[in-house]
Amino acid sequence: MTALAATARYELRMQLRKPAIWIATGLPFGVYALFAVLGSDSTGLRRHWYEISPKLWVVEALGWFTPALPMVFGIVLADRLVRDRKLGVAELLDTTPTNRGARLVGKYLGACAATAVPVAVVYLAGAVVFAVWRDQPAALWWSLAAFVMIVVPLLLLAGSLSFLGPQLMPTPLFRVLIVALFFWAGATEVESEFPSFAGTVLSLTMDYPLGVFFDSANATTGPAGVALDFLRPQPTTGTAVLSLALILALAAAILWMAGALNARTSE
């Protein structure tokens, strides 16, 4: 337990000091804000200015870039685990009387927590601005809910992928592939002829939680009469929670594989 907490704390502090996570998260939100200000009424972004529902504002205006955030998470977290071996730290740590699994989980939780901080700051700032501007303090609760139910599960999934992927392939290739994975998830739709998990409980754009808890217009839920429809149950609180549980279970399974592979390579 001590090893887990100590690794997590150390990894959190180390990662927080890296400019990478601040730049990589701040930049897209900054560019988006710039274009939302510059844009005219004809484009999609401008309508966010007129949104008065705190719930929709949080998931649609503030959450505009959220489906793409896992790419950024994956890119900045990709070197975390493999780096230890490259620098020769892994062998050194293996000689300490700590559990390798606990260290891995600690590293994962610490790195993910640090990566979440810049996004949390953006969500908090966005919510405070909206709460004051529209006199809608509920925006604070909605932004907290969106952060916990949408951003955190995606972060945990991207984090576990970044612990597994770079062990199997060169890190730069993994960075391209994680962009491709979440691009595929975001760009495909239920009607697309190209196979995808769009609109299912396994959707990487979190369709069920977004549709059920936030009434988002961007989310597609429910049977669509196309392939994989058994993964598209009626949208209810139960199926939305199921969807969240599945994403988290997937993240846990991938992390377990990363741990097993890491242990095998270390021997």
Binding site: A20, V31, G44, M71, R83, T171, V179
Partner: protein, 231 residues
């Protein structure tokens, strides 16, 4: 020649595999669309054009972003008579050159098989090579510049991916001003004002060259990379 072979290996399997994986992946989608779904040929042609204009430039940009900051013994390398920036530039040529080989092969196949012209906005075959050349140069230059500024492959990759994604997602937004139309990366597949196409391509090439030059200048004093941790 042996130097170039060495740099090809140093550029990393990742940099060389990424465009290949991207090309094979999208080609599979196109074949799947054409054969299994018996799809209207226009959308399959769009997938193939997107391979050239979206996927390969992304691979080139990410490859370029991973060039600076990955040398474990940079201190030693800086003592050699060969300037570090010359080495980095050689790796950039290898990375972008490999993308060009894949793009040319794909384009040649598309022209020969007739798929090229099934996309209505496709340009004549020869000039049309700018479809991939311009965004590839622009992204590679941007990747190198981001890497030279940050000295960190993670930051540079994230910045390159963000730009690419922003250009993809904000297609309508970027059509509003002439300056953003000229700098738009995906003018063939995601639309631009027709008469702007050539100007757009030339602007992108100029921007790519300018960014490569800026990266080259920034790497003049590679000693500032020394305080950075190697990945």
């Amino acid at each position: 020649m042996s130097l170039w072979r060495h740099e090809a290996r140093r550029a990393g399997l990742g940099a060389l595999l990424a465009p290949l994986v991207a090309a094979v992946g999208l080609a599979a989608v196109a074949i799947d669309g054409a054969v299994r779904l018996d799809q209207a040929s226009k959308s399959t042609a769009l997938v193939l054009q997107s391979l050239l204009e979206l996927a390969l430039p992304l691979a080139a940009g990410m490859g370029a972003a991973n060039l600076v900051g990955r040398d474990p013994a940079i201190e030693l390398q800086l003592t050699l008579p060969t300037a570090y920036r010359a080495t980095v530039l050689r790796r950039l040529v290898v990375t972008a050159g490999w993308v060009a080989v894949i793009a040319l092969t794909t384009a040649a196949y598309m022209v020969a098989s007739g798929w090229w012209h099934r996309w209505p906005e496709a340009q004549p075959a020869l000039v049309g090579q700018l479809t991939w050349l311009a965004p590839t140069l622009c992204m590679a230059g941007f990747g190198l510049l981001a890497g030279a500024v940050s000295g960190s492959p993670a930051v540079a990759s994230a910045v390159v991916a963000s730009l690419w994604l922003f250009e993809y997602a904000a297609a309508d937004l970027l059509q509003e001003h002439r300056w953003s139309r000229l700098l738009y990366l995906f003018a063939t597949t995601r639309g631009t004002v027709d008469q702007d196409w050539s100007a757009n391509r030339l602007t992108l090439i100029a921007a790519g060259v300018a960014m490569t030059a800026a990266g080259w200048l920034l790497l003049r004093r590679p000693s500032r990379l020394l305080t950075k941790e190697a990945e």
